[in-house]
């Protein structure tokens, strides 16, 4: 062996080389003081690392596994589901909005500038933006409100008299 067997020194120390490689390194070491010194220093480094192996702070293993189970359950749970109750309103709103967009943008169905003669579906879409319709029970009973005298006279009320 003419070259210095630098990368073979660690496996040589651990006896991991094939027999003929081990033999070749041994022969080289007998002739080469530089490699003998390298080998000795390598041995010291490994001894220092093994002997001085620091110990990490020991976790509470029961807690470690409990945390792991919790992470596993979290990871296994479906992240998004049509059946998730809290997502239903969002999904419904998104579906209505998408459908409305398709209908509004469809050629020949653009709303008239006056807002008259809107198709029924567009009325629903526009209505969904009115605060009044958020309380649907009020809408359902609107005819009852019309029976009240005060409602009939609303137009006659001025801002100052309303206060």
């Amino acid at each position: 062996m003419t070259r210095h067997p630098e990368t073979e020194l660690v496996p040589y120390l651990r006896g991991e080389l094939r027999a003929e490689e081990q033999e070749a390194v041994s022969r080289h070491l007998q002739e080469c003081a530089t490699c003998r010194l390298s080998l000795e220093e390598t041995r010291r480094v490994f001894e220092a690392l093994r002997a001085g192996r620091p110990s990490p702070p020991e976790p509470d293993w029961r807690r470690y596994r409990a945390e792991l189970r919790s992470k596993l359950a979290e990871r296994s749970a479906p992240r998004w589901s049509w059946t998730a109750p809290r997502l239903l309103p969002i999904a419904a709103t998104a579906a209505v909005a998408a459908l409305a967009l398709v209908l509004v943008l469809r050629p020949g169905t653009a709303p008239s500038p006056s807002g008259e003669d809107l198709p029924p579906f567009q009325e629903v879409v526009i209505g969904s933006h009115l605060d009044l319709l958020r309380d649907y029970s009020v809408v359902e009973n609107l005819d009852l409100l019309e029976d009240l005298d005060v409602v009939q006279d609303l137009d006659a009320l001025s801002p100052s008299s309303a206060g």
Binding site: V10, E16, V45, A48, R50, R65
Partner: protein, 191 residues
């Protein structure tokens, strides 16, 4: 009869068997945590990353073909997670060298290196200090060199086994080990 790691892993893969998974965790938790700690130098990160490695085992167990040992497959997952984490976080050396209370290897090393009342012989003190310096110097190596050395020292793996974990050739592992040891020798003799 106790099932082998490989058989347990195959159960996890085929049946999502949580008992088999729990058994694997119990068997490997300590070594996994310690190995992650040696690479990362932080107890909290070592806990999180070792748990993440177990979660990946559960998710990917069906892809474990049993051709390699479970420990090699698992170490590959764990070490790659740690190396990826290290690449993202470049402050490890700062942490390693800092003296924050608690969980860093440095603190442990300082405690281990500190001479006690019985430690009068100077040679013994010097030896302990050399050990501490060696582990501190390990933190200055490249992630691959450090991982190769930690796997050899901590786990007692051969160069061939380390090659399986790091997914590279045995010759590359020998180079990592040689360069790592050379750097440590240099650091230890200079300081």
């Amino acid at each position: 009869m106790e099932l082998s790691d490989e058989a347990l892993c195959q159960r996890v893969g085929a049946q999502r068997d949580e008992d088999a998974f729990e058994r694997l965790v119990e068997r490997h938790q300590s070594r996994a945590y310690r190995l992650a700690w040696s690479i990362l130098g932080d107890a909290d990160e070592a806990k999180d990353l070792s748990q993440e490695a177990f979660l990946r085992v559960f998710e990917r167990a069906s892809s474990f073909d049993g051709r390699s040992k479970f420990s090699t497959w698992f170490h590959r997952i764990l070490v790659n997670l740690c190396l990826d984490h290290r690449r993202r976080r470049q402050s490890w050396l700062r942490r390693w060298l800092s003296a924050e209370a608690g969980a860093s290897p440095d603190d442990v090393l300082e405690r281990q290196a500190a001479p006690s009342d019985d430690d009068d012989p100077p040679a013994r003190v010097e030896r302990k200090q050399l050990m501490a310096k060696a582990w501190q110097a390990l933190g200055r190596l490249s992630p691959q060199q450090r991982a190769a050395l930690v796997l050899q020292v901590e786990e007692g793996l051969s160069a061939k086994e380390i090659a399986g974990v790091l997914d590279c050739s045995e010759a590359t592992v020998r180079v990592h080990l040689h360069r790592g040891v050379s750097a440590l020798r240099k650091i230890l003799t200079e300081e």
